[in-house]
């Protein structure tokens, strides 16, 4: 069994709290093998998760963080995300559409919405095409908001990031008292770790990189699991032969799962969540993600295989 937790002086990374991935010795772990590293200015704390109470519920928080945060969006694509109709006597007429996995998000400091509708098309006189973007804003969607600003105009803010430059230098862990396990004067009993350079006793909630205070991560959600897999396109939308199931620790409730095309390519996607339990999720690369006559559309951006990354968020 590997030694995975170090509180003290790491031989490579200096003073701090370090937790490595399962099976990895924390003393020799590379940075991408750590699940917690107290040298960071911000960590993967999820401020809150949000599911709209109705499709008209477009306020994700009533108290702004002071910035637009990075969001992990999870949801099941409607079967007919795009409606493509071809009624033409000229077979080469057509539309190119992209198959991508929603939910796509438009985000403000307090509001959230579905990505805007795509333009419809109608080639009058020759053809009649409709290309309808069906809404993917559902009450079953889960949006997880990280305590990380991701807002143009604020990315060079040293107050938000501790430094204005783009290349990020991990902070010293020994410049001030940063770890408190016990009775915090403001937040009560618990375990608290502040960002480099900030005294844990006087740190604000946004300056904590770990805290047992419920208001730091309002609903105790966390990113639990990240897995990469290459999917093979199914022979039909209902065929389960190429389905992939990935497992993770029991989350207690159904987690939020975001499927990203590996490496971040968001086009050429179309992955569906087929089923979920508290400890596993099954996904499929379907034959098609559009309904209607797709003669000129279905082959344009439906690859035979697709490598994706699944991000599992344990909901609090």
């Amino acid at each position: 069994m590997a030694n995975r937790v170090l509180l003290g002086d790491h031989p490579t990374y200096g003073e701090g709290l370090f937790v490595s991935q399962p099976g990895i010795n924390v003393l020799t772990a590379s940075e991408n093998q750590l699940v917690f590293d107290s040298r960071t200015f911000r960590s993967g704390i999820i401020f809150k998760t949000f599911s709209p109470s109705s499709t008209s519920d477009k306020t994700w928080t009533s108290s702004s963080l002071g910035y637009i945060p990075a969001v992990i969006a999870s949801g099941i694509r409607p079967d007919n995300f795009f409606q493509v109709d071809q009624t033409t006597s000229f077979p080469n007429f057509g539309l190119t559409i992209d198959f991508q996995t929603p939910p796509f998000v438009e985000l403000t400091e307090t509001g959230i919405d579905d990505f805007e509708r795509l333009p419809k098309g109608n080639i009058g006189g020759f053809n009649s095409n409709t290309n309808t973007h069906v809404t993917n804003y559902f009450t079953s969607n889960v949006y997880a908001f990280l305590r990380f600003p991701c807002q143009y105009g604020k990315m060079n803010s040293s107050s938000l990031f501790g430094q204005s430059g783009d290349t990020y230098t991990l902070g010293s862990s020994s410049s001030t008292n940063r770890i408190l396990m016990g009775n915090h004067p403001t937040y009560g009993q618990g375990l608290f770790i502040s960002r480099p350079g900030v005294n844990v006793v006087s740190a604000s909630r946004d300056q904590m990189i770990f805290s047992t205070d419920s208001n730091v991560g309002q609903d105790y959600s966390s990113v639990l699991h990240i897995e990469n897999v290459t999917l093979t396109r199914a022979s039909s939308n209902t065929s389960s032969a190429n389905d992939h199931t990935f497992n993770y620790e029991n989350t207690g409730t159904l987690p939020a799962v975001q499927i990203r095309v590996q490496g971040g390519v968001y086009s050429d996607n179309g992955v569906r969540l087929i089923s979920q339990t508290n400890s596993s999720t099954t996904i499929r690369l379907p034959l098609s993600v559009a309904s209607g006559n797709q003669a000129n559309a279905s082959n344009r951006r439906n690859p035979a295989s697709l490598s994706v990354t699944a991000i599992v968020v344990k909901r609090g």
Partner: protein, 179 residues
């Protein structure tokens, strides 16, 4: 008051850092960890990797002169493909201080109305794609329109928005997490 933190040994099979939610003991009366739903942090469970920020920034990417898009590359040289978050906006969504009032997740749309004798009767593309490898992250603005715009159907033209085919404004985060 509940006992919410263990740093060390819980039982013969559980060693690490374990934190429960407010009001929940991290270890139950049988000496076992509380159920997963009551846990806030479990060093055994997480394989999610490290949300340690390696690079961050913002970009302005001009509209594209072709349908291939216009790309900007950020070199990170991490030696692994990192987890990247990118969000972006159109120019009409900046305030007077050039701060975004709205951001959106990566998305690109390519609308190609083809003719029966030629392709590209009218093309109207917009949006952002992001790709990452072990050395670089590439951000591509697909904002572009071409073709016989004047001949394009009125139902398409009325949705045309030149804010979408010009520069876009991107914020990004690159983490020390393999993805």
């Amino acid at each position: 008051m509940s006992r919410r933190i263990v740093l060390g040994k819980v039982n013969s099979s559980d060693h690490g850092i374990f934190v429960s939610k407010t009001g929940q003991d991290i270890v139950d009366s049988s000496g076992n960890l509380t159920s997963a739903v009551n846990q806030l942090f479990n060093s055994k469970a997480s394989s999610a990797g490290n949300f340690t920020l390696k690079r961050k920034g913002q970009l302005v990417i001009s509209g594209a002169s072709t349908i291939s898009g216009n790309s900007t590359t950020i070199t990170h040289n991490l030696g692994f493909r990192p987890l990247v978050f990118a969000q972006w906006c159109f120019p009409n969504e900046l305030d007077s201080n050039n701060v975004a009032t709205k951001m959106r997740t990566p998305y690109s749309h390519r609308y190609d109305v083809s003719g029966h004798q030629t392709t590209g009767l009218y093309r109207y593309n917009f949006g952002l794609d992001v790709t990452a490898n072990t050395n670089n992250v590439v951000f591509t603005n697909y904002g572009h329109q071409d073709g016989s715009v004047g001949q394009s159907p009125a139902s398409v033209r009325k949705f045309r928005d030149t804010n979408k085919t010009g520069s876009i404004y991107v914020a990004y985060l690159i983490f020390a997490t393999s993805a």
